[in-house]
Amino acid sequence: MYKLTRRRFASLIGASATGVAASSLAAPAVLSAAKSRLVVIGGGPAGATTARYVAKAAKDVAVTIIEPKHHFTTCFFSNLYLGGFRTLESITHGYSTLAAEYGINVVHDVAVDVDGAGKKVKLGRGGDLPYDRLVVTPGIDMRYDTIEGYSPEASTVMPHAWQAGTQTAVLKQQLEAMEDGGTFVMCPPPNPFRCPPGPYERVCMVAHYLKTNKPKSKIIVLDAKDKFSKQALFQEAWAQHYDGMIEWLPKEVTGGVKAVNTDSMEIMTDGETFKASVANVIPAQKAGVIAERAGLTADNGWCPIDPSSMRSKMNEDTFVVGDASVASAMPKSAFSANSQAKVAANAILADLTGSKKFPAKYRNTCWSLVATSDGVKVGADYAGGEEKIDVTSKFISKTGEAADLRAQTAEEANGWYEGITKDIFG
């Protein structure tokens, strides 16, 4: 490295000042700062993809990700870990490529507050990060108070495993420790929630594990809903691969889960009490708490956005991407988050560098593994409409498909996992 002499430093500043003066004639106002700053809260599929696409396109935008975790375990494919098809390591990713190859500043800390007027983020360990544009992607938080007796502490005994990592590992250990002939009780959440087919794929994966290792066991599903994503496909798989093992009870039958007791391992619905050997309680959800602190949420707990850009409806310097946003008709999925991130990145680049803003086009596909080499999928294309993100066309696997087609679909999901994690983490 060469030394910057005082004179040379002064001339560098002079040069860049002239450059800015010249370019600011035509370019947007934010360009007047030497290097514009993008701060991204959260390093999941939504945050990391947005950061990567902005950093990839514009070297003159300083990109920072704030993310407490050093390693990110994906929720997607975590059911395959429960089923014994994947290791936890194979679904865990680091941030070193984003830092080394894309020059992204990854700050391992928690964002504790946002000063929207002063445009800065307050960090947990102290200090502020100023920004020109902010992206808020904290994913979800649980509404623990919707089930009596459930809490962060209770979730160590009755894990939700709906944020991957420790929770998923706890659930796996409990399954492994369960006696043959035990009862696995799952309580899927009410809408809207992260990954609509997720609970039912998990039922398949747990059933696969139990059928292989503890075949006398039973699965009871106490749903908060009367119907669910890919229902015909899942119910076909349950009958075909795990006949007699799974009992699904919709809300209209039980009234839904009202309370849990972690001491007695009991789950209470309106009229009945269920005793569980292993209980997987997935409560109702809302946007990650920082979104609320930043003033980005509506009364329903989620963040409204402009469908043409993912820009927050509450603050025009801020974008909300991924599970925390109200992006309906898109489901809350990693695929959706990754797709929305590219629309947001394009809009952010237009704001910060004056580059061209293209029409908002989005896509989602959710594969589910229902048994060994048996995959099903559902997907749609979307465009940013006036009020919401509209479906332009959709597709879904059919019941009764040939085994080789199902095997190909399962293989496709593996290809997708490789592709999307590369696209998120570099």
């Binding site: 294309d381 496709e412 593996n414 999307i420 590369k422 696209d423």
Partner: protein
């Protein structure tokens, strides 16, 4: 098995038919590529990278990086019309929503990208 002259005749006829067919087809493809905007293609291709590995790894999903633009246009059109082997509902659904300009722009951009 037909005798040699007969086979040669058949092949000749087939080659002729393909050439005529290919002519109109390649004109259509060239017209599509003429409308291409590589910047728009780069933006749209972000929505392909979710499945098609950014560095061209083929694993359950084929790589599309660095393929000839003409081949890409033709293939995407085949999905759009769910023709022959091109019936995978995922790609058919995607292709259905792409205009000629978008197909051309994607092909132009993807053809310039290098696979690993």
């Amino acid at each position: 098995m037909p005798g040699r002259p007969v086979l040669a005749g058949i092949l000749l006829a087939m080659a002729h038919a393909t050439a005529v067919h290919a002519d109109t087809q390649s004109e259509a493809i060239m017209a599509i590529l003429a409308k291409a905007d590589a910047d728009y293609g780069e933006y749209l291709s972000g929505q392909c990278a979710t499945c098609h590995h950014a560095q061209g790894k083929s694993n359950g999903i084929p790589s599309v990086l660095g393929l000839p633009d003409v081949y890409l246009v033709q293939t995407i059109l085949e999905y759009k019309n769910a023709r022959a082997e091109r019936t995978n509902p995922t790609m058919v659904n995607i292709a259905k929503n792409l205009s000629d300009e978008e197909i051309g722009s994607l092909a132009k951009f993807l053809s310039t990208q290098k696979a690993e």
